[in-house]
């Protein structure tokens, strides 16, 4: 008997608490920066595409909803020819972001992706690629990799010696 009255009293008190309900969509939700929402492909500091088409995100994805094809430009820089995420399958686990060696793929605090037609949840590179660096400013994979690309020859990456002259007779 007492416990019933106690419960009713506590419930009644809630009427005077601060409201947790947010009047969405009039009022927007505040999300932390590391909230795992819509996936974007970012660019490196000099605005080149960060994604090098390594397929690691696709392999890490537990629902296999990333598919891409790597290709390279005339100077050897690799990038994805197409990059597709099927968001109707994505579980926003963030494994792709963790797997990505170039910080290209990132989950951002945005969940407003509702669609009436499931087909519209298939995003292509056009829909994914943004004009910014996202959460990890400053990183440029090609500056640390050994691969030569346009504008960066052998020995010009960070922490690299000039290429060896194999015809030199010096010991």
């Amino acid at each position: 008997m007492f416990s019933i009255i106690r419960s009713m009293w506590l419930t009644f008190l809630h009427a005077f608490h601060k409201r947790e309900t947010i009047q969405y969509p009039e009022q927007k939700v505040k999300l932390p920066a590391r909230w795992r929402g819509r996936i974007v492909l970012t660019r490196d500091p000099d605005m080149g595409e960060r994604c090098v088409g390594c397929y690691l995100c696709a392999a890490a994805c537990p629902v296999d909803c990333i598919s891409l094809q790597a290709t390279e430009d005339e100077n050897g820089r690799r990038y994805p020819e197409f990059f597709r995420i099927n968001f109707s399958r994505c579980i926003f686990c963030g494994y792709c972001e963790e797997a990505c060696p170039t910080y290209a793929i990132q989950l951002i605090p945005d969940f407003e992706m509702g669609e009436f037609d499931r087909q519209n949840l298939v995003y292509e590179k056009n829909d994914l690629l943004i004009n910014g660096q996202g959460k990890y400013p400053g990183y440029n994979y090609y500056k640390v990799a050994g691969l030569a690309i346009g504008g960066k020859g052998k020995g010009e990456a960070e922490n690299e010696e000039q290429p060896v002259d194999i015809k030199s007779l010096m010991p």
């Binding site: 397929y55 990333i66 790597a70 597709r84 990799a145 690299e160 000039q162 290429p163 060896v164």
Partner: protein, 896 residues
């Protein structure tokens, strides 16, 4: 056998092995780089360190390189010892000090031995704080990509390219941490086996350049066990697909056939499958029509027609058999020229009725004397050339054994052997790449080569007739060859169809038989022109001329031509006339060619990648290839199209068949020579623990996205009615039966090195036995019925040339030459190779034009001079665009 205590556990191991091989054979995970199962050890990388102990009381032990120490009985070693483990981790740390941060953009990634070994040893962070040394790369041609920064100095590449495969244009340069592996300057790698660098190199320095153009990670490929379609040796390959196109060919280990390697024609010829000009739709009188319609139309046509069927030496036995069943035994013709037909039949007769067995490639490697008659192996049967290269070392290697140097100790062995070669005799029309190994070489017209063969055989066994009026110097040559062969234990005689001379083949058989009569364990290898030449010949059927006559004489009016360009096999005029006379020409084909242009109905057939089938290689080994991926609904195996036609037409025989297995069973029952072909792979109902064998690795990615642009709901994966492989990543993950291994993988071993886990013992047969079934063995008690007709000596005729074919590894074979990378390596112009003396007489120079008339057709070819080709003979490149389409050899009349 010896007992080896590994971490105090006794194991029985092969005493001929080194400790690394012993550990790997037992299935232990011991990292290594420089040792290679086919090339032995040099102790260059220091990665394979383990501990050895004096006796059971020795607790300290000492570190050794396991690949450099032989197994001894009751030896005690430790793989798990902490010091050994730390040492291995340090070593990989050092190897990686200069390694670039490249995995994401490296084609090796996901199948990289260096990645695997790094994970295995536990090395994770680079401790070296200084700068990385870098290298510039070289352009090595259309096949191989070079990224020298990734090198870990294991020396495998140069040991394979130079030492094992005999390449001349590749080496190691500079010194200490600057060593560089490549060519002396940029340029195309000359070796016919350069593609193996991609698999031999444990890192991403050498990778497949054709794969790079449509790059896919190994884990994303749909793969199936397949058989190379580009020559008669039947090397085992793995073919991988992604997004509906064929992406790469890799080696599939077969202990008896190709071992660890394949040639560049086999590795890079695959792109004909993706060629833009492929036949992809049924076409009737120039109009694209649907699958149902074309079948209906054909049914209508066949009802009122007298039909013949022309098979193909590059189509599977299933397809040829289905065609034969559709048109009837008497209306089935081999689509090969008269000489190809006769030579294939002769080969079967020689191998079945004679007492000498044909050895496998692996057995050729251990033959201690070689006699080649009329074959330029490097170009016609490349992997056989690689095998005889190893055979040339067998006799010197006997000395090595006497000096107590183990065979696997490669550096010591090569130091000891230097460039000594065993008895190696070569009689060819002109110089070949193998000449450098030959102790005796002889260049002559085919008939003269045959005469030498007879002379040698006579000197071995006098029951073979001698060559009358043989010149003294040739007599001496024959003496030397005969005595060289007689000093060996198991000599091999090699000949084949590329010189298109039956007499040469007969002479080769005589030599082998004569050796057999002298109690030698002789072998006889006869190469064929195409991947299923022997299989076709074993099925019986008429000659191509018979087909022509049937139509020209009005016995038939409709021809079904399957996977065959008749212009490659018959002379231009006859084929033209034949195709014009046919009321209906129905062609089943995947790759466009001249015959296709004359067809009324074109049916899109599947290439090997889209088909199930079986081929019989030159050794008589029946081998199965599996469909890699299902193509669009319209492209199907020829046999499936034919089956549908047969069922539509109410063919009772064919109506009983539903799938691949039914046809194969029928073949085994009805074809006398092909008994047992239904047993070479498990049936399609085969399951392991209720599961199929997956064609896709378990990390296969993207399956809910790759078709999402078309429809967000994924389609059901196709079911395979013809085999127990599945088109998905689900299924049994353990070892597949040896005949249906779609890819090599083992936990922790993502690269091809995982093949170690599939073998009974390092370098031995696959677990469960090497796949395939040898159909040709000499009949028990067979005796040598020597061929007795010695050919006449070759006599040049004034203003004539005796025209023979010469083969090119890149360009002569019909399918591979459509691969863009291979096309870059073909001879640029059709040519006529003649002797400078003849050129002088005709007043022409290298590069000039010369015209021949062959069968009333005039061909203008570029002169190419060659000092070794005999006077009066001209060699023309087989299969090249613009070459006479005619049967050679034959006389060509010189036109001025």
């Amino acid at each position: 056998m010896a007992t080896l205590y590994i971490d105090n556990q006794p194991h029985e191991v092969n005493s001929g092995h080194n400790l690394l091989e012993a550990c790997l054979s037992l299935g232990l995970d011991l990292p290594y780089f420089c040792w290679h199962p086919a090339m032995g050890s040099v102790g260059a990388c220091r990665q394979c360190a383990i501990k050895v102990y004096k006796d059971e009381n020795d607790k300290k032990g000492r570190l050794i390189m396991s690949c450099m120490e032989p197994v001894t009985n009751n030896q005690r070693i430790s793989v798990a010892d902490t010091e050994a483990k730390e040492f291995r981790e340090e070593v990989i740390g050092w190897l990686m000090t200069n390694h670039p941060h490249d995995c994401a953009v490296c084609d090796e990634g996901g199948s990289c031995h260096l990645q695997d070994m790094t994970v295995m040893t536990g090395h994770a962070y680079r401790k070296f704080r200084y700068k990385k040394r870098t290298h510039t790369n070289q352009d090595l041609g259309p096949f191989i990509n070079h990224e020298m920064n990734r090198c870990i100095q294991c020396y495998r590449c140069v040991r394979f390219y130079k030492d094992y495969a005999g390449g001349k244009d590749f080496d190691v340069f500079a010194s200490r941490n600057k060593v560089y592996f490549g060519r002396q300057e940029d340029g195309v790698l000359e070796s016919e086996f350069s593609g193996n660098l991609a698999e031999v190199c444990p890192t991403g320095v050498f990778t497949d350049k054709t794969l790079k153009q449509h790059y896919t990670r190994k884990w994303d490929l749909t793969m199936a066990p397949s058989i190379c379609q580009h020559c008669s040796l039947g090397c085992n390959i793995i073919a991988g697909e992604r997004y509906g196109s064929l992406r790469m060919i890799g080696n599939r280990y077969h202990g008896e056939v190709n071992g660890y390697f394949i040639c560049d024609r086999g590795r890079f010829g695959y792109e004909f499958v993706n060629a833009p000009g492929r036949v992809r739709q049924p076409i009737m009188n120039g109009q694209v029509i649907g699958r149902k319609e074309v079948l209906q139309e054909i049914n209508r046509l066949l009802k009122e027609a007298k039909v013949i069927g022309i098979g193909s030496p590059r189509a599977s036995i299933q397809s040829n058999f289905a065609l034969k069943a559709l048109v009837g035994k008497n209306n089935f013709y081999h689509g090969v020229s008269e000489s190809e037909h006769d030579m294939a039949e002769l080969a079967i007769r020689i191998l079945k009725e004679g007492p000498v067995r044909t050895p496998s490639l692996k057995e050729v490697e251990s033959c201690d004397a070689v006699f080649i008659l009329g074959e330029d192996l490097t170009n016609s049967s490349p992997m056989l050339a690689l095998a005889v290269r190893q055979a040339a070392r067998v006799q010197p290697m006997n000395e090595v054994a006497k000096a107590n140097i183990p065979e696997w100790n490669d550096a010591a062995v090569r130091e000891f052997v230097q460039d000594k070669n065993g008895p190696f005799f070569s009689a060819t029309i002109h110089d070949t790449k193998l000449d450098e190994l030959a102790s005796e070489k002889y260049y002559a017209a085919p008939d003269d080569i045959a005469r030498l063969g007879f002379a040698v055989a006579h000197r071995i066994d006098s029951a073979v007739p001698d060559v009358p009026n043989y010149p003294e110097e040739l007599k001496q040559l024959a003496d030397r060859i005969a005595s060289g062969l007689l000093q060996s234990e198991n000599p091999v005689v090699i000949s084949g169809v590329s010189s298109e001379s039956e007499t040469v083949m007969r002479a080769a058989a005589n030599v082998a038989w004569a050796l057999h009569s002298k109690k030698k364990k002789a072998g006889l290898v006869l190469t064929m022109l195409e991947c299923n030449s022997l299989g076709l010949a074993m099925m019986g059927g008429g000659k191509l001329d018979g087909a022509f006559n049937a139509v020209l004489n009005g016995h038939a009016d409709t021809a079904i031509i399957m996977e065959n360009d008749l212009y490659r096999h018959g002379s231009f005029a006859t084929v033209d006339k034949f195709l014009k006379t046919c009321k209906q020409v129905i062609v089943l084909e995947h790759t466009p060619h001249a015959t296709l242009k004359k067809a009324h109905v074109i049916i899109p057939a599947g290439t090997f990648a889209e088909s199930d089938g079986m081929l019989i290689n030159n050794e008589g080994r029946a081998q199965r290839f599996f469909q890699v991926y299902e193509s669009t609904e319209v492209i199907q195996e020829s046999w499936r199209w034919l089956l549908n036609m047969g069922i539509n037409a109410g063919n009772e025989h064919m109506s009983q068949w539903k799938n691949f297995e039914d046809i194969t069973k029928a073949i085994a029952q009805e074809e006398e020579f092909l008994k047992g072909v239904d047993t070479i792979t498990p049936p399609s109902s085969f399951r392991v623990a209720g599961q199929r064998i997956p064609r896709e690795p378990h990390r296969y990615s993207g399956r809910t996205a790759m078709n999402a642009n078309i429809n967000v709901s994924e389609p059901k994966p196709p079911e395979d009615p013809d085999s127990s492989l599945s088109y998905t990543m689900e299924g049994y993950r353990g070892l597949a039966p040896s005949s249906m291994i779609p890819f090599f993988w083992s936990p922790g071993w993502n690269s091809v090195q995982s093949v170690n886990k599939y073998q009974n013992e390092i370098g031995a047969s696959l677990k469960g036995g090497d796949p395939g079934l040898r159909l040709i063995e000499p009949e028990p008690g067979a005796v040598a019925n020597y061929f007795s007709t010695v050919p006449e000596v070759f006599q040049p005729i004034a203003d004539h040339f005796w025209l023979v074919w010469t083969h090119h590894i890149f360009g002569s074979e019909e399918l591979s030459k459509r691969s863009p990378s291979v096309a870059q390596r073909m001879p640029q112009h059709p040519y006529a190779m003649i002797n400078p003396k003849d050129a002088e007489q005709q007043k022409v120079n290298e590069g000039d034009k010369i015209s021949f008339e062959v069968e009333k057709h005039v061909y203008v070819l570029m002169v190419k001079l060659n000092n070794t080709i005999p006077s009066g003979v001209a060699a023309l490149p087989y299969g090249l665009e613009g070459m006479p389409s005619t049967e050679l050899p034959g006389w060509g009349i010189l036109k001025r």
